[in-house]
């Protein structure tokens, strides 16, 4: 039994890890078009995030701090590893902890340099980590309570979870906003003009190293998207609609809540996402009992 599934799982995970950056890049490209449309602009080409990543990777930048560079490589490897565990049908809790470790590596990479802007970004990245990691664990536990197993394969095979625990959708939305660094979770560094810091955690990263930081974040976003898909994989239409609806809400909130502070970030994450997850846990307990 294991002889058949293990190679398949490894194959799926490898393919997923290779394809994920392209998919996330395209999703972010559409995201930037939609955002631009909401601001009555035209917006960049859909391929823009992929252009940006390629350009950064091909820049002839001077070497970064050696420790920071090493940590960034580990950051990408761990983030891709977390996604691979999820795609291979592995343990949800392990996958969530690996993603958390990836974020910790990014924070350490940003903390390895002396720039005060980077240090400010680091303290805010920690707030984001503190806000997001418990939510990820709560989602994994809620999935586990309904299905009776923490295996991603078992969750994928289960009937749509989101129908059993509808409030979990809110938590997943908050997590998506966090992974995409949408407002109010865009406080640690800046991608766009409307953000609070001119430059934060990525201040000292340039060229290929900034590309690595971006790539790691793309894997984290892919991780959350797969987590959302898992909640209703048995009905693909529902899954697609769920991701699309969540994404649209996230973009809308991003456009209407510029310049939110880290207090708002924590408030939204724990006040909204946490409470929704807690309700989901209770519902899951009831649903699991039935």
């Amino acid at each position: 039994m294991i002889d058949v599934t293990l190679p398949l799982a490894i194959l799926a995970a490898t393919a997923g890890v290779l394809v994920a950056p392209v998919v996330v890049g395209l999703v972010l490209g559409v995201d930037r078009r939609v955002t631009a449309g909401m601001q009555l602009r035209i917006g960049p080409p859909v391929l823009q995030p992929l252009y940006d990543l390629t350009k950064l990777a091909a820049k002839l930048s001077a070497p970064a701090d050696r420790l920071a560079a090493g940590l960034l490589v580990v950051h990408v490897c761990l983030a891709a590893g977390g996604l691979a565990i999820l795609l291979a049908g592995g343990d949800l809790i392990v996958a969530v902890l690996v993603i958390g470790a990836a974020q910790v590596c990014f924070i350490l990479a940003a903390a390895a340099v002396e720039s005060p802007y980077a240090q400010l970004g680091v303290s805010r990245e920690i707030v984001i980590l503190v806000a997001s990691e418990p939510l990820l664990l709560l989602v994994a536990i809620a999935y586990g309570s309904v299905v009776g197993s923490f295996s991603a394969a078992a969750v994928a095979a289960a009937p749509p979870l989101v129908l059993a625990v509808p409030t979990l959708g809110i938590t997943l939305g908050v997590l998506l906003a966090i992974s995409l660094r949408k407002s109010p979770f865009d406080l640690a560094t800046s991608h766009h003009a409307h953000q609070e810091l001119v430059k934060g955690s990525t201040t000292e990263m340039a060229g290929p190293w900034l590309a690595l930081a971006e790539l790691g974040h793309w894997y984290e976003a892919a991780f959350v998207m797969v987590l959302i898909l898992l909640s209703s994989l048995q009905s693909p239409l529902l899954a697609a609609a769920l991701v699309l609806a969540t994404y649209l809400v996230v973009v809308l909130v991003d456009n209407t809540l510029p310049r939110a502070t880290w207090r708002a970030a924590l408030g939204v994450a724990w006040g909204l996402g946490g409470v929704a997850a807690a309700i989901a846990l209770v519902t899951a307990r009831v649903a699991g009992a039935v």
């Binding site: 930037r32 631009a36 601001q39 009555l40 602009r41 035209i42 917006g43 960049p44 080409p45 391929l47 823009q48 992929l50 252009y51 940006d52 990543l53 390629t54 350009k55 091909a58 820049k59 002839l60 930048s61 001077a62 800046s190 766009h192 003009a193 001119v198 430059k199 990525t202 201040t203 000292e204 990263m205 340039a206 060229g207 900034l210």
Partner: protein
């Protein structure tokens, strides 16, 4: 065999040209050009449709936008900013002061145009230039980003400056000094809707006296 390698190479060139991130530095002057540069980046002109993003870190930027005249006080800062930027990079000098010192030309602490300190690729004329014209200047610089400067100059590839200027748009030579040191060709956007740049007749004599 060269198929995938060539494909990757052209994708990288395309990506570099499609993603000009701006670093803005004001050497001095009256701030009129700076306001126009900021105006260029507002949603009204939608610079992001060309992949343009304003970054605060020279190490992350591709195009250095310089306004104001080069002067003794901050020539070192300008040089340092330029050196911190990684290749491929391009420099766009915005406004009359950045081209040749403008109305400040001839003052004791003024070195002249930005080209006196760093190699300039595109001059955008005007006092101040319109936002549309500044965006034109950035887009004129974008093809230069396809290759690092050394490679560009040695290979004579499509990134050469001459390909940026159409024959109908002959380089505008203001005061005969645009372009900094000899041997460094430069392109000027000659779509000046406000007439020629600031009169520099009086300043010329002083500049000659100074040098």
């Amino acid at each position: 065999m060269s198929g995938p390698a060539e494909l990757l190479r052209s994708w990288i060139r395309r990506s570099r040209m499609k993603s000009p991130w701006l670093v803005h530095f004001d050497c001095g002057g009256c701030n009129g050009c700076d306001i126009e540069v900021l105006d260029t980046l507002t949603p009204r002109h939608s610079a992001e449709r060309f992949g343009v993003i304003n970054v605060g870190d020279p190490r992350q930027g591709d195009v250095l936008i310089v306004t104001g005249p080069a002067n003794c006080r901050n020539a070192g800062v300008l040089q340092s900013l330029y050196d911190q930027m990684a290749e491929p990079k391009a420099v766009v000098a915005v406004g009359s002061c950045a081209a040749h010192g403008g109305i400040f030309r001839g003052s004791p602490n003024i070195l002249g145009g930005v080209g006196e300190v760093i190699p300039v690729d595109v001059f955008v004329s005007g006092c101040p230039p319109h936002p549309e014209r500044i965006l034109d200047g950035v887009l004129a610089a974008a093809p230069l980003l396809a290759e690092p400067r050394a490679e560009r100059e040695s290979s004579g590839g499509p990134g050469r400056l001459s390909s940026v200027t159409s024959p109908a748009r002959a380089p505008l030579v203001i005061d005969g000094e645009v372009g900094g040191p000899p041997g460094r060709p430069a392109v000027a956007l000659d779509i000046d809707v406000r007439g020629p740049a600031a009169p520099v007749g009086a300043g010329d004599d002083q500049a000659e006296e100074r040098t």
